[in-house]
């Protein structure tokens, strides 16, 4: 942070440095491709100015090999950079399995974050350095986009769907966080702070933040109070699929297809129950789309995930 104008934004991850290197390399290439053009235009404009004597014998009007070479050579060079950037991009879409999950709900015009331990924060996101963090995000209303410039990452946050973003911050500090997709009146105030803390500081922060119960426990609470347990619980009389050991497993559907019980599938089953019906069960589940908001769904999801290791108990 020096000078009047910083040319590079703060860097808080290895990925950020890689993106900067990619950009620098590519900028060098495009300068190499374009500066000769500018130079030649100026040189020609001076040397062959109208009325000025110059050697103009044998002007060329066409040359296929020249054409092909200036079409193909830059293209091949650019393809090299394409492969490089594709590799970085694929990395961004492959979160490690042990990443800590933080749920994000965007709402006009604020960011809400829920940590697995139940800690909740608004417009501020605390993460530990050196740990892979996976954000599972959805929106309560319109499309938003979570943008953390210091990490060089951005991902749109969609209503009705989960999108994910992962990163490993490696330098503690306070950085900007913003909504990058226009979302209405107060779009430009939908900003916040991204706080990367050392592991010790982060543990202290977690402990200090008020938390009555973990996310999964809060989900279990909703599971009971909203009547889910009446059908999906062990004592249910209704024929409904058991949820123990469900998460991450394949689910055969009525139409013969097979879905994976991931976050999106479980969310859709709660809010749009008729769209994908598990084989062998009657389509009797009512929709909860006017009853639960996205944060509550995230808690339920955490609860259902916590049941993943238990063995299914068939209701009697």
């Amino acid at each position: 942070m020096s000078g009047v104008i910083d040319l590079w934004p703060g860097r808080a991850s290895v990925h950020a440095a890689q993106v900067d290197t990619l950009l620098s390399g590519f900028t060098a290439l495009i300068i190499a491709l374009s500066v000769p053009v500018f130079a030649l235009i100026v040189v020609f404009a001076v040397r062959y100015r109208r009325g000025k004597p110059a050697d103009r014998t044998h002007p060329m009007n066409r040359n296929v090999w020249l054409e092909v070479s200036w079409a193909v050579v830059p293209f091949l060079l650019i393809i090299g950079f394409f492969v490089w950037s594709l590799m970085l991009f694929v990395d961004l879409h492959r979160p490690p399995a042990d990443a800590v999950q933080i749920d994000v709900v965007a709402k006009r015009w604020m960011w809400k974050f829920q940590h697995p331990g139940g800690q909740r924060e608004i417009d501020e996101l605390h993460v530990p350095v050196g740990t892979a963090v996976k954000l599972v995000m959805t929106s309560q209303d319109v499309i938003h986009s979570l943008f953390i410039p210091a990490l060089r990452v951005k991902q749109d946050v969609l209503p009705g769907r989960y999108t994910t973003l992962w990163f490993t911050a490696d330098r503690a500090g306070r950085y900007a966080l913003a909504c990058a997709e226009f979302c209405g009146t107060d779009h430009s105030t939908m900003r916040g702070t991204f706080v990367a803390l050392s592991k010790a500081d982060f543990a202290r922060w977690l402990a200090e933040s008020d938390t009555d119960m973990t996310l999964a426990a809060a989900g279990a609470e909703i599971f009971r109070s909203r009547g889910c347990s009446g059908c999906h619980g062990p004592a249910a009389t209704v024929h409904a699929p058991p949820l123990e050991g469900l998460y991450g497993k394949p689910v055969p559907l009525q139409g013969g297809e097979v879905a994976t019980a991931d976050d999106q599938y479980i969310r859709d089953s709660i809010l749009l129950p008729q769209s994908q019906i598990a084989a062998g069960y009657p389509p009797i589940m009512p929709t909860f789309r006017n009853i639960l908001d996205e944060e509550q769904v995230a808690k339920l999801l955490a609860y259902i995930k916590s049941l993943a290791t238990e063995s299914p108990k068939e209701p009697r």
Binding site: G255, E257, L272, P273, Q274, S275, Q276, T287, R289
Partner: protein, 190 residues
Amino acid sequence: MLGMYLFLASEVLLFGGLFAGALTYRILYPEAVVAASARLHVWIGAANTALLLTSSLLVALAVQAADRGLRRPAAALLSGAAGLGFGFLVLKAVEYTKEIHQGLLPGFGGRFDFSSPVEQLFMNLYLVGTGLHAAHMTVGIAILAGLAWRIGRRSLPLPERAVTVAVCGLYWHLVDIVWVFLYPVLYLAR
């Protein structure tokens, strides 16, 4: 002719946006879309398809007659095609009425009976798609009837102006083709 074909190309892409919507939801929610499609009136749709195909035949025959300067047959065939088109709209109206009573048609009345949100989405698409098509039908019927009338009172001399008949015929055939795709996409999703 080329101009008309270009216009038709733009019409095709207009409906293309709707087909893209249908495709999207078919892929995202195959079962719910199939369930929603099964609740439509397949037989009314089939009858309407038959009406349109037949009217297209009449228009093709009319174009042929116009080419040869046969005034009366051309006018009669065009009127027939317009009549069949009108029949299509009547059947469509009957179908809409039934769907309103079933609580299936969004935008009309207060009582809805959708089995799932996706069905509502599908019926929205159905209403916009068939509505837009019906609007095109209305224009087409007016054009065909107008042609028949002008041919009848000789203000459109044949065979000199047979091209006009052919160009209008192209439009009618296109409206037919659009329905040929709408029918399986909306009614026959299985």
